[in-house]
């Protein structure tokens, strides 16, 4: 039961990160290695805001806003000029990720920092004792994912995004501007990752390398789910989230082996089913 309840929460929070990563790939064909940095930027921006005296809810909003701004800047300054050069985008976004890590290291130092909890204490859910701040993160993440999925499937904006994802040239013919859509998606994806950083920071620690695990998990999820497949991303988030908690609860010293398992999922999927669970064989 612990794995089920905690797996659900973990799935929701990592899906927030993976959704943005998957959307950006689906729309722009961009593998953004700086995506984990948005997670970190959101958390650190919220932390800095609290240090400056902002109430936590305000700090959380600032964290998300700063992450979105970082997404916009990444698109305008880095990805935009090289959008159609896959390897160049890969290298440039990796460079940005390392640059952001260095900047955070320079500004905040190398060691752990904490964001205060939104709420204290614990609550029992299906007989499992959960920290309230963790439950809040799971619920907020779940609600956000549902809203994003509804927007994608029901709204004109979502149709525009899907149009670009499915056939960019056809979308251009009906007046859609793919660059603009990519910008929106990158900003929203960055905001989602930033929100995940803000929500999980109260029960995590802030370090300049905190971008790596969410990026690795996002990779695992989009590869397992199928590149560019939103449904696959959600499904794979559930698989990875439950696997994360299964390892934590059932393997000795499991908490320090989660990253290894995630990398193993990436490798296994690439070898056994490169297109992922719901992905197409080729774009």
């Amino acid at each position: 039961m612990d794995v089920l309840v905690q797996g659900a929460i973990t799935s929701a929070t990592i899906a927030l990160v993976a959704l943005g990563f998957s959307l950006v790939y689906g729309v722009g064909g961009i593998v953004n290695l700086a995506h984990g940095s948005f997670f970190m930027i959101g958390a650190y921006a919220a932390y800095e805001a609290t240090e400056q005296g902002a109430p936590l809810p305000v700090a959380a909003l600032i964290g998300v806003a700063v992450a979105m701004l970082a997404g916009v800047l990444l698109d305008r300054l880095v990805i935009g000029p090289i959008r159609h050069q896959e390897v160049a985008v890969l290298i440039a976004t990796l460079a940005v990720a390392i640059l952001v890590q260095s900047l955070v290291q320079f500004q905040f130092g190398g060691l752990e920092r904490q964001l205060p909890g939104f709420v204290d204490g614990s609550v029992s859910v299906l007989g499992v004792q959960l920290r309230q701040t963790e439950l809040l993160a799971g619920i907020a993440a779940l609600v956000t994912i549902v809203v994003v999925l509804l927007v994608l499937t029901k709204s004109p904006t979502g149709r525009m995004v899907r149009a670009v994802a499915e056939d960019e040239e056809a979308a251009v013919l009906v007046g859609v501007r793919p660059e603009r859509v990519t910008l929106y998606v990158l900003a929203v994806g960055a905001g989602l990752a930033g929100l995940a950083g803000v929500l999980t920071a109260p029960y995590g620690v802030l370090t300049p390398t905190m971008w790596l695990l969410p990026l690795t998990q996002a990779f695992a999820i989009v590869i397992l789910g199928g590149l560019g497949s939103i449904q696959g991303t959600v499904l794979a988030s559930v698989v990875i989230g439950f696997l994360d908690r299964f390892v934590a609860f059932n393997v000795k010293d499991g908490s320090i082996k989660i990253g290894l398992v995630t990398v193993a999922v990436i490798l296994a999927t690439l070898i056994i089913r490169p297109q992922g669970l719901l992905g197409k064989v080729a774009r």
Binding site: D2, V87, P274, G279
Partner: protein, 431 residues
């Protein structure tokens, strides 16, 4: 999908994982290490990660000691040269190199974490600068050290080494906590250089105290240890080990943590309220801000605790001076670095100069009352630990967080001022 593309991605990720390290160890012998009796300023290099409380306290403990010594005007004037080691071994080595080549210090102190302290030892030996370590417990810090070998420049003023920390924890568990009704223990520890030997010895001692301590703890029968789990400084969730320990019936969890993750551990315990008490080394738990974040009422912290109490005649004046100047409680390594600077200065006064060999000779004769208690070095230049006789070496203490956030010493009874250990409010021991 293009598998070739993902091969590139894999390579890129691997690059990202390894991209941020750089090293450089080019220390040579310190030109000033041979010393000059006429030197008027005693330059002491102090290093530590100043972004976190552990490093801040190394720096501020040293600066406070220097300020006091300079105000007294006895002996050489002390100048502290601080270097931020960022808790990275390569940065710490670079600090020692800078001290030797650029700053030309006559002695070194500080250091936080066994990892960075162990990393600098070879550089210290080559530079031939006396180094009084003040923040690492790994036994290997003084491995092979004696009065004549290349390691003669290395001393440890605090904390006591991991083995002695383990002995003290074992003593407390087997002779005090069991009397309070705790029957099943578990160990939750950081995967760190100081913790590995500590846990290994602690496990042996808890299983068979007399055998492990060669009779120092005269108990043949040990206690039940139902589980041992480790975590890293980036671990964020503790529900799984808590569940494991609860399922196995543990009613006291011995924690061992030196980094800021200790805050998350304490907060998780206070939030989740598992049916076990918790206590042990939690360095983050010594800070002033800890309780406000965690509300960890009933958590025990020791044996390397730092508390304003009459441990020695210097303890309360030091705490008052530190709190007055920096508006926070010092951690154990703030105490140790403060004592380290005084120890170095007293050695320089006795030596009548700042030559490295003369300093080493006088450091070996150290027998002083420091903030932490009686400070003497053994043949390995390691500070001497004394579990029961404070006149023979450092005795260790444990404090417990009260409902109002105050820290009350509960062990040893001689310092407890009548305070006794209280079960955390959510813990019930079933007989």
């Amino acid at each position: 999908m293009k598998t070739k593309q993902w091969a590139v991605i894999g390579t890129a990720l691997a690059l990202a994982l390894t991209a941020c390290g750089e090293t450089g160890d080019t220390a040579t012998t310190n030109p000033s290490a041979s010393g000059s009796a006429s030197a008027e300023t005693f330059k002491i290099g102090v290093f530590g990660p100043e972004q976190i409380p552990q490093g801040e306290d190394v720096r501020d403990g040293a600066l406070l000691a220097a300020e006091e010594l300079n105000a007294k005007g006895v002996g050489p004037k002390v100048e502290i040269v601080f270097c931020d080691s960022e808790a990275k071994p390569d940065k710490a080595i670079a600090c020692i190199t800078k001290f030797a080549q650029q700053d030309q210090v006559q002695a070194i102190s500080g250091g936080f974490s066994s990892a960075e302290t162990l990393a600098v030892l070879d550089t210290v030996k080559r530079a031939k600068i006396p180094y009084v370590s003040a923040g690492a417990a790994a036994p290997d810090v003084v491995k092979g050290v004696d009065s004549t070998g290349p390691g003669k420049y290395i001393f440890r003023i605090g904390p006591v080494n991991s083995t002695n920390l383990a002995v003290d924890m074992c003593l407390t568990v087997t002779t005090k906590l069991t009397k309070l009704g705790f029957t099943k223990f578990a160990i939750l520890h950081e995967d760190a250089a100081f913790a590995i030997p500590l846990v290994k010895f602690l496990q042996a001692c808890l299983a068979s105290p007399s055998a492990a301590t060669k009779g120092a703890i005269p108990l043949d029968k040990g206690v039940a240890v139902v589980g041992t789990e480790k975590f890293t400084p980036s671990t964020t969730r503790f529900e799984a080990p808590f569940k494991s320990f609860t399922d196995k019936g543990a009613n006291f969890v011995i924690e061992i943590s030196s980094t800021q993750v200790g805050i998350q551990l304490g907060k998780a315990w206070a939030d989740l309220k598992p049916n076990f008490a918790m206590g042990g080394i939690n360095v983050a738990g010594q800070s002033s801000a800890y309780f406000n974040v965690t509300k960890a009422v009933g958590q025990l912290n020791g044996p390397a605790g730092a508390v304003r109490a009459p441990v020695s005649e210097k303890t309360i004046p030091f705490f008052d001076a530190f709190q007055g100047k920096y508006k926070r409680d010092p951690l154990y390594n703030g105490v140790a670095t403060y004592d380290g600077i005084y120890t170095l200065h007293e050695a320089a006064v006795r030596a009548g100069g700042l030559g490295a060999d003369a300093l080493v000779t006088e450091l070996e004769k150290t027998d002083r009352i420091g903030v932490a208690g009686v400070e003497k070095f053994n043949e390995q230049h390691d500070v001497i630990y004394s579990a029961t006789d404070p006149s023979k070496g450092l005795s260790l203490l444990y404090f417990q967080y009260q409902a109002d956030g105050s820290k009350k010493i509960v062990f040893p009874e001689s310092l407890a001022a009548g305070n006794t250990y209280q079960l955390p409010p959510f813990v019930k021991i079933t007989k």
